[in-house]
Symmetry: C2
Subunit: 464 residues, 2 copies
Amino acid sequence: MLSPVFIRNLKACLGEENVLLDPEDLICYSFDAASGIPPRKPGAVAIPRSREQVSEILRVCSRHGVPVYPRGSGTNLTGGTVPSPDGIVLSMVELSQILDIDAENLTATAEPGVVIDKLNKAVAQFGLMYPPDPGTVATCTLGGSVAECSGGLRGLKYGVTRDYVMGLEVVVADGSIIRVGGKTVKNVSGYDLTRLFVGSEGTLGIFTQITVRLVPAPQARRSMLAVFDSVDKAGQTVADIIIHRVVPATLEIMDDITIRSVEAYTPVGLPVGAAAVLFIEVDGYPEVVEREAGIVRDICQTHQAQEVRVAKDEVERDRLWEARRVALPALARVKPTTILEDATVPRSKIPNMLSAIKEVARKYSLTIGTFGHAGDGNLHPTILTDASNTEEMTRVKAAIEEIFQTALSLGGTLSGEHGIGIAKAEFMEWEFGPAGLDLMQRVKKAFDPQNILNPGKVVRRAGD
Amino acid sequence: MLSPVFIRNLKACLGEENVLLDPEDLICYSFDAASGIPPRKPGAVAIPRSREQVSEILRVCSRHGVPVYPRGSGTNLTGGTVPSPDGIVLSMVELSQILDIDAENLTATAEPGVVIDKLNKAVAQFGLMYPPDPGTVATCTLGGSVAECSGGLRGLKYGVTRDYVMGLEVVVADGSIIRVGGKTVKNVSGYDLTRLFVGSEGTLGIFTQITVRLVPAPQARRSMLAVFDSVDKAGQTVADIIIHRVVPATLEIMDDITIRSVEAYTPVGLPVGAAAVLFIEVDGYPEVVEREAGIVRDICQTHQAQEVRVAKDEVERDRLWEARRVALPALARVKPTTILEDATVPRSKIPNMLSAIKEVARKYSLTIGTFGHAGDGNLHPTILTDASNTEEMTRVKAAIEEIFQTALSLGGTLSGEHGIGIAKAEFMEWEFGPAGLDLMQRVKKAFDPQNILNPGKVVRRAGD
């Protein structure tokens, strides 16, 4: 669907070898990780190797009115990277240099294609840490995680991606290169476009450099597993830990269905008869870790934990967290189709949300395993289903809508960390009302008057 | 300049008694705290008492095309609250309820007119703290501090206002009421309008409710004063503290001119012969405070501090910080006119910036006292001058421009915490270039097509 003139211009920007057109190649760029959005092949894939090339590509695309679908590792979960045949995928993976680790200012500057794990290993040599910790940390790119404002396992204590992005170099729709933010902790110069770009899912601009804030790596950490015979007791434990002014680095929950799936997938000794488990890690100075671990253990026992297992060493710790990290693949094995949701509520509403999810599963006769970030109210109800079963998929759709509405009615949000993408765009008005949604559409139009930057994601416009 | 019909409509929204028109009243709303921007009386002052009244006022103003200048306590420093005779001041001080302190979710929700000190006293009863700590904490309103994205003394460890605002209820230009963000730690639903509103200086919308994040109050703290015979040694001490992975809650610097002015204003025993002093406070668990205070003291001594004075008790601590907090009034006494600047650089560039400021003072034969937040790179060079001396004011203007250009060339920003307002609007292109500035202007237009929300601030538009 792309014109030969456009393709010629694109090749002129990048060189022939950096423009993919073969159908086999295009298939590889047609989907995301697990949104269930049907794949759509792009018209071409462009692989820039410099900011100037990104700028050139956007100039060409805006001249031809061709949509641009930016893509890192494609690990997103709401269709953010799903392209269309009348547009190009802009693969950012070759812009993958770590440009600067500034131990004095506690910052790192990198290109968007850097994998987060690689960044973390590089800064660890300076005793530093980049806290955002999405589940796909070993494969996802920094650029993708900034575009999605990834959350992850450390949200409660350390916050999410937006709390760490300090500055951006961005190519905007017409190909101009702008810089916003920088290396200063304080910056109130003009509108905060830096945070507006964070989480904009590739719809407002393309990042070519990202400056992030680092923190001193904690000197010690201790992990534990607490086992409960009711979800309520686990939920109360979470609330009580916070009330006791302990803020764990990580505070995760897993329900019975997830526990059994994980144990069947990779036997690590999870208690298959339990109703819920909490995974908890405290970190900091050794003496603080000691103190906080004691408080947490006491609170678990107060709420009648059947068992509190404290990891004795790093090996036991890693095994514990491995069990948590395989939750999604373990659940995905159970049925042909896995739909991972992102219901997020204020932390105190976790027990309400958990029982609402159980109720939805009963009502629509569905299997839903739930795990997630109890400490920050971000749950992942995971619907195990079969996309080929049309009748069941109708029930799935109704169940998802009911889960969203429950989250919103509990003071929560449509998405805690997976974004809106295509999957949730139709529900935006539930959260923001017509006036709020209109404002977001006007923001999109201000940045991208031609609607060529990842169109159809976040806010829809006529014709998407 | 306001039409009788408009005034009648305004009174119909609010009741006669909440619309001020007397010249003596209007004078009180004609200026800000210390920008040096000449006062301008508004056409009227409106004092709403509910979100519905704010909405009604904006409907009337947008119908008549009348500018709205929102105002809290008016403590801002770049002309943000300076109105014009063809518009009205919207005084938000009567919307001053704390609506909710949610100890379980670590949030507070309040109306914009709440004074920050009052909020802090209220949350302290729950063992919690609202960390943003602008110098005017005892008088400034929450709404004003969110509109300006205030920084303050705790930026290094705790961040600034934007790091604590979780949700907003906002009345936008046409009078619609929207809600963005909320009580969840994680939220990636749509564009991050919450952070875009933070620091927008009243130019994008009017806040009617603000939800902020709280943190557990530290259990212990220790303050110290370190005295140096050279600014460089003080600067190296700052850098070295961070390199040793200690992140103090507060890390402030004061130069010789400021030390002498403070001691003359309120004798607290500052060393008047010193070239620079550092005020340092560490906080947290008692055992951490002990450890970090020791590290800091050792580093000060390594860099040949002439003296390190550790506050023995809360009385000594308060006296120490009082000396820091009176820096501005103490300097303001020296000459008829005080111009407080806001040069902000990456922390490691503090020594460079300090010597550049001294050089600028010499070059333009001006008296400049410098103090500020060394830990986060945010310095306040304070020019002591006389507005009636036209010749000197020409040199002042040149000096300010040179200070801005030096900050930008060192990787800094036009404003760390005072905002752009009127005072720095003309310099925006230096930082963002034409493309960046154009984007900000388009954002303004998307939110406020008629240009009635605090016009002439942050980004200028034709006719401002």
